[in-house]
């Protein structure tokens, strides 16, 4: 089975590759993990991972420049697909960041955390939301197998997704109010947090993805 990690020039791809390789150690079938900027490799892969880091407009521009848009859209239609951070945000209709159009796979938009929010103790909450926060699963999903409720994952983002349809939201976090941090539908699963930077919980999630038959 081949898993393609899409290299469109944005993201800490070395980390994503290494963590997926590590996760692959724990799966039954032999997995070929490739980091690729070649559309044919993505078209021929059985699974696709779509990372992303930095500003949404830059990521969208990079994706357009890379010529990988069709391969990514094909993957969204047809195969197990895992989006991470801005790779997840790109799946929406629109982001407030740079007023950018996304791929429109999920209805809804991506909004900015306001500055000057406070926690219950009166401390100011910084933006970006950076660090380990609890992920509260709100729907069952095979990718959550073996992952504790309210497990910590690592987040770095200033924008969060606001799906139009709540049924696609699989998990929430708080900052300070609830926001969706995992979305999914059919063969597509995407996280706001950096799965590849989330220690054992992140590795488990990736391993579940490699084993997933949606």
């Amino acid at each position: 089975m081949k898993t393609a990690i899409v290299d469109y020039g944005m993201g800490n791809l070395h980390s994503v590759l290494k963590s997926v390789q590590e996760a692959a150690q724990g799966v039954m079938q032999s997995e070929q993990i490739v980091l690729t900027d070649d559309a044919d490799m993505i078209f021929s892969a059985e699974r696709v991972i779509f990372p992303g880091q930095g500003a949404m407009p830059d990521c969208m521009a990079a994706l357009n420049r890379s010529g990988l848009g069709d391969a990514v859209k094909d993957a969204l239609q047809n195969k197990p697909f895992f989006g991470i951070c801005v790779g997840a945000q790109l799946l929406f209709d629109h982001s407030e960041e740079g007023d950018t159009q996304g791929l429109g796979w999920f209805s809804g938009s991506v909004k900015r955390f306001p500055n000057n929010q406070f926690d219950e103790l009166g401390n100011r909450l910084k933006v970006p939301h950076m660090g380990w926060n609890k992920v509260h699963q709100i729907q069952q999903h095979p990718l959550f197998d073996g992952i504790a409720q309210d497990e910590y994952f690592y987040f770095v983002h200033s924008y969060y997704f606001a799906p139009e349809n709540n049924s696609v939201s699989l998990a929430n976090s708080d900052y300070p109010s609830e926001f969706s941090c995992v979305i999914g539908q059919d063969n597509v699963f995407a996280t706001q947090f950096h799965t590849e930077k989330s220690h054992l919980a992140g590795l488990k999630l990736l391993q579940n993805f490699l084993n997933w038959r949606p």
Binding site: N12, K18, N115, D119, K126, P128, M130, G131, Y154, H199
Partner: protein, 254 residues
């Protein structure tokens, strides 16, 4: 809610941990990969390396270290020390670092922060600020370079604001009058910086015990605390530190 972070920091010289650490049973206490792995297993939220390699001939050694660490440690890694250009940042990030920390170079050329954050995103750029009080009642602080010896004359609070405006994603604030003393962070400085910016602040410099870490968060309003010696020499474990912080009402990832 968002937990406060504990970040152990290692000085690396020519690919080796300086001064070593005192982990019982660690096969090679001078190997940064082994040490990072150990901290990772013990619950560190992130790892920071400070590359203090003097010779420009061996600047690539740290890249090799980063690659190895990124293959085995799946938590965020920040690397600083001698980062002077966008090319330097690129090399570190391509090797697997998540964030690059820039200190003196930002003072010499603040535009570097705009450029680097524009290329790689603010989330990849940490600006390290070494600050010391310049008045008797510890209410005014300047940015210092050269290990705290040279007063730049720049107001530290203004500087932090400017760095945020130029695109820094995070500030690493070292209390230079406390660094190495084990008397705790300069709390008024830490608080002033934390209150002045919207981006996260990591407090560093002077940690001697867990109370200092707690004060850094509760009084200094830091989002994260960075320490070296207390963890390296086994005085306090990361778990002990987190339990103490939790007891004090601070949310930590346990």
């Amino acid at each position: 809610m968002l937990a406060k972070r504990i970040i152990p920091c290692l000085d690396v010289d020519n690919g080796r941990v300086v001064k070593g650490v005192n982990f019982v049973g660690l096969r090679d206490a001078g190997n940064p990969v082994d040490v990072a792995k150990r901290y990772n297993d013990e619950g560190a939220d992130e790892i920071t390396f400070l590359d203090i390699t003097a010779s420009s001939d061996n600047r690539d050694t740290i890249l090799y270290v980063i690659e190895k660490v990124a293959s085995q440690v799946f938590i965020p890694l920040t690397v600083g020390g001698g980062v002077r250009s966008v090319a330097d940042v690129r090399r570190l990030l391509n090797a697997g670092a998540d964030k690059a920390s820039i200190n003196t170079a930002a003072v010499i050329n603040p535009d570097l922060i705009n450029e680097a954050s524009s290329f790689f995103g603010s989330q990849a750029i940490v600006v390290a600020i070494d600050a010391k009080a310049v008045n008797a009642d510890n209410s005014q602080w300047h940015v210092f370079t050269h290990g705290g010896r040279q007063d730049t004359g720049i107001d530290a609070v203004q500087w932090a604001r400017e760095m945020q405006a130029r695109g820094a994603g995070e500030i690493l604030l070292t209390s230079m009058d406390r660094d190495g003393t084990k008397r705790g962070f300069n709390l008024p400085l830490t608080r002033a910086i934390s209150d002045a910016v919207d981006i996260p602040v990591i407090a560093s410099g002077g940690v001697g015990n867990v109370q200092h870490l707690i004060a850094g968060v509760l009084e200094g309003r830091a989002d994260a605390v960075l320490a070296a010696s207390i963890f390296h020499f086994g005085e306090v474990s990361i778990r002990e530190a987190k339990l103490a912080m939790q007891q004090a009402g601070i949310e930590v990832r346990l």
